[in-house]
């Protein structure tokens, strides 16, 4: 039996909602950036870095970054609790899953810090 202790919001209902709110943020961000790239006739470094130097864009990007962290955690939790189970992996499944989640958490954290450095570091 899989307990909810390693899920993101510690309840299915929270995770369900967080997954959708973060999805809407990420879809809006993706469409905005894709639209900007497609609709700007001559996309130079100056135009691009001007866009990302505005506070608005940095906050929007940070929201997307945090949404990625939450969204990926919930999504990968669902994948790991489906496949790294006692039925499929035997008795070591729980240990394996915790190690995998630890590694994924580390990667997610790296992404977040890296992203913040990019946004406020140029």
């Amino acid at each position: 039996m899989v307990t909810a202790v390693t899920s993101f919001g510690r309840s299915g209902l929270y995770d369900w909602l967080i997954q959708r709110v973060s999805a809407v943020v990420l879809a809006a961000y993706t469409l905005f950036v894709a639209g900007f790239i497609v609709l700007t006739p001559d996309l130079t470094f100056a135009v691009w870095s001007d866009l990302y130097s505005t506070l608005c864009m940095r906050v929007f990007s940070l929201a997307a970054l945090l949404s990625i962290a939450a969204h990926a955690w919930i999504g990968l939790w669902a994948v790991l609790t489906d496949y790294l189970t006692n039925r499929m992996m035997g008795a070591k499944a729980t240990v394996l899953r915790l190690v995998a989640q630890g590694v994924l958490g580390l990667v997610t954290m790296t992404y977040t810090v890296w992203g913040v450095e990019i946004l406020w570091g140029f």
Binding site: M1, A27, W48, S49, V79, N86
Partner: protein
């Protein structure tokens, strides 16, 4: 709960409907995308670091390996987003029936295919 109760979920013996393929692709594209975030952050990092690195990034779009990695990442993003939007429609009650779900799956596959083809045309 009995721990050794029988489970009949041997996926290789089940003929999967189109909705199942759309679902498993959503999951697979999500896992790929988690690695793809590194590619996207790398690109953003280079695009903002300096004028030279911005040009070098544009230049790398001529390298076949870079083209493939960027296209793969954007393809996963496109599919995952389209399939995700389908989920949001189903959350508000659109396409929840068996037939609606199958139609939604076909539309999602079609739209994602078009976007992925356009991305390919844009990169190559």
């Amino acid at each position: 709960m009995k721990k050794n109760r029988p489970v009949n979920l041997d996926i290789t013996t089940i003929q999967l409907p189109i909705t199942a393929y759309v679902s498993i692709l959503h999951r697979a594209s999500g896992v790929i995308l988690f690695a793809g975030v590194a590619v996207l952050l790398w690109a953003l990092d280079n695009s903002l670091a300096s004028e030279e690195q911005f040009s070098a990034l544009k230049e790398s779009l001529n390298n076949p390996l870079c083209q493939f990695i960027i296209w793969g990442t954007l393809a996963a993003l496109a599919y995952h987003m389209v399939a995700g939007i389908r989920h949001l429609f189903m959350d508000i009650g659109i396409g929840e029936t068996l037939e609606g779900g199958q139609n939604g799956a076909k539309i999602a596959l079609f739209v994602a295919f078009i976007i992925i083809a356009l991305l390919g045309a844009w990169i190559w």
